[in-house]
């Protein structure tokens, strides 16, 4: 029994554990972690995937055996720290103090990690502008997105910044209203934090922009689907009749092949004295394509505005302060330890 205890608390066992942990870490960076099963099957094939999944390699850092390795290291370090404390009581030394602090800090960091894992949560919400969604881990709190804005670098399409204005509703009451969050600048409320994580475009169209050429003259109109406008200085009225995100012709019928914006197209109806004169398709990606029989006008589908959704990350992590406490102690410990080990050598 004493022999076994001795082995589990030995430096040699710690070395073995560290080697195993390093190997596991390296394996985990070469096998994609926590991606979807179809993707795994595409990469590894079904049999290998099932096998990898069984031994926990698809979520290696949260697998039972990896956590066991960390736990054993924790126990080993704890014994090491306790032993050192006993030695320190007999014989005071700065070196030993630094060593204890350093090893203790690693224990604190691991403890913080355990607390994060057990008591924390993390979820993502995609919310459209104007919409409200519940936080599923805390159902009494919901988030309303008032607006979402993207800022670009001057004269380019490169995103400089993006921000969400949101309102927090707890039990039907507004507890925080119209607070702006952006990347690197989250919102905190009662131990939970809301981060700007990303954004995307919904495939519902908000507005379309149409340029109408009438001989030498041209006019630009921005409208919603179903709206109509008059071409300036004429009797003609144009109605935006239909929008297809991915236009194809199938047996001489226009349909949308998917909901992706592969080939956005608009069907325009041209009226004169309330009578339908013509109907034509215009394409966002092919501005020079004209099918209209009416050659007086030329339409260009110049813009389409899609509403954005904002991607928010909701996090509760009570372990984080403990981890950072550990980090602080680690730096202090190393600053004491590293210079003193050198001196200790020279004393010898």
């Amino acid at each position: 029994m004493k022999k076994i205890w001795g082995f589990f608390s030995s430096t040699r066992f710690a070395l073995l554990l560290v080697i195993l942990i390093i190997s596991a870490c390296i394996i985990g960076t070469f096998i994609p972690q926590r991606i979807s099963s179809p993707e795994y099957i595409r990469i590894y094939g079904k049999d290998l995937y099932l096998w990898l999944n069984r031994i926990g390699f698809t979520d290696l850092y949260h697998s039972f055996w990896f956590i066991t390795l960390l736990f054993l290291l924790f126990i080993n370090l704890m014994i090491c720290v306790v032993n050192k404390c006993f030695v320190l009581r007999k014989r005071k030394s700065l070196f030993l103090g630094g060593s204890i602090l350093t090893h203790l800090s690693i224990l604190i960091i691991l403890l913080g990690g355990i607390i994060s894992g057990i008591f924390g949560f993390r979820e993502y919400l995609n919310i459209n502008e104007g919409a409200t969604k519940r936080i599923s881990n805390i159902p009494c709190i919901s988030i309303k997105v008032n607006s979402f804005n993207i800022e670009y670098y001057h004269g380019s399409r490169q995103v400089k910044d993006y921000k969400t204005t949101l309102t927090l509703i707890e039990e039907g009451k507004e507890v925080i209203s119209k607070k702006v969050i952006r990347i690197n600048h989250p919102l905190s409320y009662k131990g939970i934090k809301i981060y700007q994580s990303g954004y995307g475009k919904t495939n519902r169209v908000k507005n379309v922009t149409l340029k109408v050429h009438n001989g030498e003259k041209a006019s630009v109109h921005t409208l919603k689907i179903g709206e109509r406008f008059a071409i300036p200085n004429t009797d003609s009225v144009v109605r935006i009749a239909e929008f297809l995100p991915d236009f194809v012709m199938l047996r001489s019928r226009a349909i949308s092949k998917s909901t992706k914006l592969n080939n956005p197209a608009l069907r325009l109806e041209i009226y004169e004295d309330d009578r339908l004169k013509d109907s034509t398709w215009v394409f966002h990606k092919f501005p020079n394509w004209h099918s209209s029989k009416d050659s007086r006008y030329r339409f260009e589908f110049t813009g389409l505005e899609l509403p954005f959704y904002t991607r928010l990350e909701i996090v509760k992590d009570p372990g984080a302060p403990i981890v950072f406490l550990g980090c602080g102690i680690l730096i202090i410990g190393l600053c004491i330890l590293l210079p003193t080990i050198r001196r200790r050598r020279i004393e010898k």
Binding site: I26, T29, Q158, Y162, I183, F324, L330, L334, L338, R342
Partner: protein
């Protein structure tokens, strides 16, 4: 761009200085040594000007893409090298350090355009933590590079017993000092990264490949320190750990970006 002219100038200074450092060992004349150090220092000044100009051209600190970070890394190596040369009055290390720097700058200059061009900084990198986190990490890699060189010299001396090389005990001591300083910097770099990640994404650790490899690097040097002070390893064995540690730190720095994907894709 003007910054590239200054970097080119520093490249040629380091090339010339390498010849002088080698010449010093062949002819043992003090004047050659003085020339070697002066030319390296001039190259370093030009390198510094190049980095400052690059910062101005890009209007952000020079660590946001592969090109900028390799140039900064080589700058950090020279900075630490010049300090060590001055402190320990030994010019032998220059023979090994300068070629590494030449290799790094050469690598940076042949990178494809997309890794080189000045780009506006993406939202995730616009933070006060960027310069602190990145500069400490690169300084630690630079320390490990120096320790790699001293360990190589140590092993050569052991193997072939060159008379002109300082005694092995001295090399072992320098290796230990730069490794422990580099280790402290790496610890600091990982911690500032964790603070930043926690602030920006709400997680201090996410097992991203770069994070994981930095942990592996850190653990290798933990191994170095324990081998030295618990198991009493000296010389040859610890020199090998320092060499492996440097190779792993270079994988963390460069390899991860090309072979593995993750959040650190911009650097």
């Amino acid at each position: 761009m003007r910054s590239e002219i200054y970097l080119g100038l520093s490249f040629f200074s380091y090339l010339l200085a390498t010849l002088f450092y080698v010449g010093l060992q062949l002819f043992k004349h003090n004047l050659i040594g003085i020339f070697a150090t002066s030319i390296t220092t001039l190259g370093f000044l030009s390198h510094t000007i190049g980095l400052i100009l690059r910062t101005k051209e890009a209007s952000h600190p020079p660590f946001t893409n592969m090109y900028e970070s390799v140039v900064f890394f080589s700058w950090a190596i020279i900075l630490i090298y010049l300090f060590i040369e001055h402190r320990f009055k030994s010019k032998i290390i220059g023979i090994f350090v300068l070629p590494i720097v030449l290799l790094a700058i050469g690598y940076a200059s042949v990178l494809p355009g997309e890794y080189k061009e000045v780009r506006p900084i993406v939202p995730a990198l616009q933070s006060f933590w960027l310069p602190i986190h990145v500069s400490t990490c690169f300084l630690s890699y630079a320390c490990f590079a120096i320790a790699f060189c001293t360990s190589l010299i140590y092993l050569l001396k052991e193997r072939f017993g060159f008379k002109r090389i300082p005694d092995t005990e001295f090399l072992d001591q320098i290796t230990y000092r730069v490794v422990s300083f580099g280790f402290l910097l790496l610890t600091f770099g990982i911690i500032t990264g964790a603070i930043w990640a926690n602030y920006a994404w709400g997680r201090y650790w996410g097992w991203d490949p770069k994070e994981t490899w930095s942990l592996v690097t850190w653990l290798i040097y933990v191994g170095y320190l324990h081998a030295r002070f618990i198991s009493g390893w000296r010389g040859k064995k610890t020199a090998w750990i320092a060499i492996i540690g440097f190779l792993i730190s270079m994988f963390t720095f460069v390899g991860v970006n090309f072979l593995l994907s993750g959040l650190h894709s911009y650097v």
